[in-house]
Amino acid sequence: MTASLDARSINMTFRNGDELTRVLVDVNVTLAPGELVALLGASGSGKSTLLSIVGLLLRPTAGIITIGGERADILSDAKSSRFRNTRLGFIFQFHNLLPDFTALENVGFPAAAAGDGMNAAIRRRAEMLLSRVGLSERINFPAARLSGGQKQRVAIARALMNHPQLVLADEPTGSLDRASADQVLALMREINREDGTTFLVCTHDERVASHCTRRITLRDGRIDSALDTQITPET
């Protein structure tokens, strides 16, 4: 079976003037379709950096990235933009939504802007996704007025809009209270189980990991293979 994500020998060294910061060293990550993987590691261990690299937002110093069987690290700027739009989903910790647009418009935005605007099909799918994340009551609500947990659920809906092969989430519950965080995590787990969507969630929170099917850990810029474990998430 084609892996959802196959990252080979990823190396990342930041350079600020003469100062070199080696963040990732020969990192290998493979995600099978339908996995919900927690990427753990101490603060500063390189989780966000790795996520940005496999999300094509950052070019690694070296390494090969294959997503859904397609080489993705060698794409031009415009092509990688297109690739992110159609094949990947993103959920960040902050600033996820466009505050001047409604929940529905936020969800439909990636499809509308890539095509020729909002149409009935986009609207229908966005509505369906919003009701999926439990926000059918907030469809036409301005994003700026949603609560933190609601915002993250809209972000999940938007990440799913274009049927992505891989959803990348960076501390998706980092700024939520415990109840909202649990709700968001349960939702991700549910979508993962029911739709088979592959997630890579980076977090330093063990509780987040407990919702996942597998955990990998970054330490000193390397994947600690001793800590690569399949787990049975609590449901």
Partner: protein, 401 residues
């Protein structure tokens, strides 16, 4: 177009700031319209003032130059000698007048004898510039009869019209005789028939009118005239008409512009000043748009970063900002044009006691199409910088802030 919707939403998200920006653009456009209408109105007034009281084309005998005829059959050259002692006059003036009368663009024709003379009264003497005309066409070139302050304009055989300042300095009043001696040395007693006041000091002090018949013996021109003055329907055509009539008659034809090079210089200087002010008002408009959109692009960095992350193209983001500039330009320019027209029309309702405009403004000449195009075109140009900086934003950097 989805980018258009996004641009509109962005402008609408901060209605006060957008309103302020549009108002700034409109104000600049209003200033542009005002200055354009004023410069145009001033030019028209100055031109009208000059052309209302003077000829549009003047015909005089051509300068005579000696010509050499080359004759291949002779071994000599023939030289057409020109006597500078000969009197300069238009002998065939009736034919010229007939030709002019057949031209539809001509509204008035005044064959004249002009010369200089001295008015003598007792021990007082004053030089005058004499214009001798057909009394029935006294007002053909300049509305003399409207400027009469004493007497009348009948211009009998021994009558003369003089200016009010000349009358004062010579102590002359209507009905009084005065000795008139021309530069031909011929003198005759004339009677002051009317006194005019043109308001132009040099005219009121120097100019005198006679009838053509009275002038002929005095200036020794039994048949000819010295010049023919012409008025045209359209003063703007003076130059081309002068060229045409000069060619047709062999006379020297001078358009009014050439006799008033000072006016032309003044108009040019005025137009340049206007252009400068127009340019400054446009530049301030464009700087306003560029800075407002740059601030907006900067404020929306993280949003733009998110959009770039989920794969919105750089072109889309650039077009959102270009469209914002375009909309601000169109709305601001339209409002500015309306406001400018309103302002100019309002200013044009103020008149002085003599019925002329207090401010010589031409509301219809505000350069509306020009300023609209320049503003909208300029607005797009002004938004290129913020559009580019927004499009070039690095997604990751923007999100992490």
């Amino acid at each position: 177009m989805f980018a258009f919707l996004v641009a509109r939403r962005y402008l609408g998200s901060n209605p006060w700031q957008t309103a302020l920006l549009v108002a700034g653009v409109a104000l600049g456009v209003t200033a542009f319209v005002f200055i354009t209408a004023l410069i145009q109105g001033l030019a028209t007034r100055l031109t009208d003032d000059v052309t209302a009281k003077s000829a549009h084309v003047s015909l005089e005998p051509a300068d005579r130059v000696a010509r050499i005829f080359h004759n291949p059959r002779l071994h000599t050259e023939a030289v057409a000698l020109v006597s500078t002692l000969q009197r300069r006059q238009i002998r065939a003036w009736t034919a010229t007048v007939a030709l002019l009368e057949s031209q539809t663009s001509v509204t008035a024709i005044s064959p004249q004898i002009t010369g200089s003379a001295v008015l003598v009264r007792g021990e007082a003497a004053a030089p005058v510039a004499v214009t001798a005309i057909d009394p029935r066409q006294l007002d053909a070139i300049s509305p003399v009869s409207r400027e009469i302050v004493a007497g009348d304009t009948s211009l009998n055989a021994n009558g003369i019209l003089i200016g009010v300042r000349l009358a004062e300095t010579m102590g002359l009043s209507v009905g009084q005789p005065v000795l008139f001696r021309t530069d031909r040395g011929i003198a005759r007693l004339l009677v002051v028939e009317g006194i005019f006041k043109s308001g132009v000091q040099s005219v009121d002090e120097r100019v005198a009118y006679l009838s053509l018949d009275t002038a002929r013996p005095l200036f020794l021109l039994p048949a000819g005239v010295t010049n023919i003055e012409i008025k045209l329907k359209d003063t703007g055509q003076a130059r081309s008409f002068a060229k045409f009539i000069g060619g047709a008659t062999g006379l020297r034809a001078t358009p009014w512009q050439d006799k008033n090079s000072g006016l032309a210089d003044a108009l040019t200087a005025q137009a340049q000043t206007g252009t400068l002010i127009q340019a400054f008002s446009l530049i301030s408009v464009l700087i306003g748009i560029a800075s407002a959109l740059s601030l907006s692009a900067n404020r929306r960095r993280s949003e733009i970063g998110i959009m770039r992350a989920f794969g919105i193209s750089r072109n889309f983001i650039a077009s959102v900002f270009l469209l914002q500039g375009l909309m601000i330009g169109i709305v601001g320019a339209s409002l500015g044009c309306f406001a400018g027209y309103g302002l100019c029309s309002w200013l044009a309702t103020f008149t002085k006691t003599d019925g002329t405009l207090a401010l010589p403004i031409a509301p219809s000449e505000g350069g509306y199409a020009l300023v609209f195009l320049l503003t909208t075109g300029g607005a797009i140009m002004a938004s290129v910088i913020p559009a580019r900086s927004a499009a070039r934003l690095d997604a990751l950097e923007a999100i992490q802030q």
